[in-house]
Symmetry: D2
């Protein structure tokens, strides 16, 4: 069988047909390169609408690009960025934030991938002391890399905390759509109204081919961003094709359908595996991820048929990601296999 769906990552999934259609649709004639085209303008407008208009939007290629350049826009190299120890910027970007911004990352240990004002306090010192990297940004992931989500009230508390120290709140929203679907709350309510300063707005994991956006909630912060994006190697020449994908995603709430579906599949998976005695779900299942501890010997057997990643080899904790294209049959098939191997 070709290209069997597994539970490794929402990055392993392909592109939603409507997104592909939208790409084909803009593929005629010439359009001004580097974002000077009408499709890019339209996509930016749609995103502005979602977030309450008074924002600035820049398209980039990848989530890492969005995170790094967004952070670059709100820091100097003598600043520090506080994040969860599990954050993508700390674990999975091969040091791109440090390399590009020159700033220091300050990881915080957290059981569920979420930061709180209390957890952060240990790093909030040394302001004005020239020997110490100056704390400037709190960076959170919504949803987190552990599949958990912040309530708007929690985001607001962090934003308020950050602002009280003249710091910024950055959100890595690689799975923002999933969080929004799960919370059943609009992006404006979740992000703009809670005081977020800069956002990585992810599309790829929710059914796009490539393309993310950096969204700024203050004109001051985005002032020179076009230069940062170019110097950061994230300016697409044929940008209409990123724009077309966002346009498709934001038409007829495709984003919500995709994200809700992926979330629902994770719920189904969680429900089913929680019936199996030898399996212990380790994190709240709030988006399209299920973390679980399972007997280590069955892991390679399962992986042969449905690929997924072992999260922690010491505890035999695994991560199962569902996707916009996961089917009920995939879940049932996998759970059946799991039951069989464990019996």
């Amino acid at each position: 069988m070709l290209n069997k769906r597994g539970f490794a990552s929402d990055n392993n999934s392909g592109v939603h047909p409507a997104v592909l259609d939208a790409i084909a649709e803009v593929n005629h004639g010439h359009a001004i390169a580097y974002g000077g085209d009408k499709y890019t303008m339209l996509a930016a407008e749609k995103i502005k609408y979602l977030f309450g208009w008074d924002v600035d939007v820049y398209f980039v290629f990848t989530g890492t690009g969005a995170n790094v350049l967004g952070l670059d826009a709100v820091t100097n190299s003598f600043h520090s960025i506080i994040c969860a120890e599990t954050a993508h910027i700390q674990q999975d970007e091969c040091g791109a934030p440090e390399k590009f911004t020159g700033a220091k990352l300050l990881p915080v240990s957290t059981p569920d991938g979420k930061l709180t004002s209390d957890l952060i306090t240990k790093h909030l010192y040394g302001f004005g002391f020239e020997h110490h990297s100056q704390p400037k940004v709190i960076s959170i992931s919504q949803a987190t890399e552990m599949g958990t989500i912040y309530t708007p009230a929690e985001i607001k508390a962090l934003a308020t905390h950050a602002h009280s120290y003249k710091m910024y709140l950055h959100v890595d929203g690689a799975r923002l759509f999933n969080a929004s679907a799960s919370l059943n709350i609009g992006l404006k309510e979740m992000i703009t109204d809670t005081g977020v300063d800069v956002l990585s707005f992810g599309g790829t994991k929710n059914g796009m081919m490539y393309g993310e956006a950096v969204v700024f909630f203050s004109k001051e912060l985005s002032e020179n961003f076009k230069y940062r994006r170019k110097q950061g190697m994230q300016l697409a020449s044929k940008m209409r094709f990123i724009a077309a994908q966002f346009n498709a995603m934001l038409t007829n709430e495709l984003w919500l359908k995709n994200a809700s579906h992926a979330n629902k599949m994770a719920q189904l998976l969680a429900t089913e595996v929680s019936k199996i005695p030898k399996i212990k779900i380790t994190q709240k299942v709030q988006i399209n991820a299920v973390f679980a501890i399972i007997p280590s010997d069955v892991i390679p057997q399962l992986q042969k048929e449905y690929f997924f990643y072992e999260w922690d080899k010491h505890t035999s904790e695994v991560r199962w990601m569902t996707s916009w294209d996961t089917t009920q049959e995939d879940i049932i098939g996998f759970v059946d296999l799991l039951r069989e191997k464990l019996s």
Copy 2:
């Protein structure tokens, strides 16, 4: 009329239908993210075949990304990189090479965008002197930003010169396909056999949507490139879609058809405009670019109907780029308009 074709840039053109088809074709089921899929393996194999097998291939998003990361792989921050003053890395990457590599760029004034050993000599000093950035790379563009090309003998001379100083030869091949078509010579003969060390291998300008490759001609140079690519924010998650495009481009010599056609259209344009007395072609027309000095007052009139860029406002020199999708009618229509405005 929607999306009228002009002569602004080969980046303004869209995607060749066969490339789009290839994308759709790989869009089923799951594939390992970040290049662990079979399509990526196949595209890399095809490129290896083209260059004589003994090369390493890494896909990235953009030409700037390819240039910067390729240069990063062969430099330390205390090195310098010699290039033409007109080079893309000097003029059009917003300082990305300096920012990312930390190295110094040493521009060389050149009438046609081409470097020679003689022109470079002025920068070849200070070896071993710790106060001076150590010359380490000669970087050329094939074809150049002025639409000119190097013969294989010229490339070989530069490679030999570079190697005699323990330096490397880097080639920005954003329009390598056009150069190859124009020279009627294979990529292996032009690049591998002449002693090039690292190459930016462009796809976007020749009919792809996005995606370039960095090609290394020695294993030693590519040793840690996967980390550089990730840290450089150029690692695509759904990489199969870049690979599919290269696969299409390298099937049935689509690359050659596209490049030859674009080149031919430039020749037609050059032939026609050279019949008009008030126009002076300023560079050899060797690929898909025509540089010409025209009366400055007609420029805005022409741009209303066919967009293109003024290259030098002081001399009213313009650049006309043709593309894989330029038609004979486009050329005739434009030349007619030009004649009309000038009469």
Copy 3:
């Protein structure tokens, strides 16, 4: 009274008279700038002798400079550096290591400022995984910022551990002289023979005016260091004056006298204050530092007469540093004042 001695920092002390004399002694006529002089050669020879000859020595201005450039020599930007959370490179260099090397620092929580193989284990993963900064250096401070020291066996264990992962062991030796005096062991036994790869060798805190050295224990690592030093803005033009200071320090074991004296004064202080009931010494007193928790209300009263720093405002822990010029009278005077204020 002018310039009263306190317990704030060994950086607050002045220059030993013999060091000043040595400076005056080399101050005649011209000497080749940037280290091409005989005094620099002599100082380097003396240091080589101390470490067993087979090392490379480079003089720089500051401890931060020594740390950052030493780390730069053994890392690429995609690497990570594991250090104690209390390390100078993590807390007190305003992000210079990240800015200059581009690498990621991975702090480890530790009660006494010391790392162990066990403590480090949590960061030793992701080797070969391109998304993850590659662990490359373990960096320790000898003595630590908490005034504690590693035994040679402990250093050797860490070096062996590092090497087993193809990693390097870096030592921040800003107070290496104090550690050596305390352990009563030679620098060769403590550093060279235990497998250290690169060392910041401090002079300023032990009675010099300015100047530190970076010592490499393998020629391979120092290969391009002269360029790194210049690009790192740490190359002194009139280098003979740094060299003269090291020469003085390494003549008649001045380094040992100074360091032993400072250590002894800390012992005296610790002995005396431990007799006072309301004071709790919090770290082993192994070099010239005493950490203690004292009633918070007396801190400002004491600081009026003998300046020192509060280390942790939450616990009212203070740090008292003695110096090469601290006298027994200073200690007695301070302890008397302390007793008076507490009674």
Copy 4:
């Protein structure tokens, strides 16, 4: 004879006795480290007085440090810095400006080391164009590396030109004292009143041991400089010893005596050698440097007795630097030798 004086560099000279005395004088007791001491305050006040009070002063170690950090304060990484091709920042800092600021340097060919508004024009384009490094700084050296100087009117013209483009004027003043002595004009008139934005204020070459200052002529530009200095590894712990040197230099116009003397010795040398037929002086002799073309075969013979550097091996141009400690006898002795070797 020990340490014979030559004409290699003013960096080869030692320290003026009054400077050494001043160092000894502040060497008693403890002083707050990192510049919190009264000597540093005094030195800063003296410099402020010289420049008309409304400036900010920060001490650093080296001229390269002063240049790089001063430039860092007025640029973002997406900016460019225009300088003479002979500038120290372009030729002699091993790429430190690029590495630390991330910005692009744009060298300008100039016969005498001086820039003019006309010469700069070629680089003033691409403003607002995101592909192009944004021109932000004009950097000049006063005096230049070719021994020439700008009149205040010339500096003012460049400052006005820079400001008309919202750019800054940076001055590398490693030999500012010599320029001031030569022009017989105060530092305020030469620098503050002409509109300079940031200055590297050199001390080492004029009789100090080490130490330079960065002077800002607007509070806005220096806002975060203390962090940049620390992160740039240029913060001295025992800063009183840099301050003491500047205090000595600015007492009883020692700076003027030293600089005038060095300049006078260069005049004497120029006068004498211009009497010798086979020697051609190639640059105006305005400070303490003489550039001359001499028969190449005598160069090594002369160097055996008086060391100096060959500036251009192709033309056998040499550079002779005089210093604060050069004597009339040195000049006569050298000229006699020169005459003898040439006869």
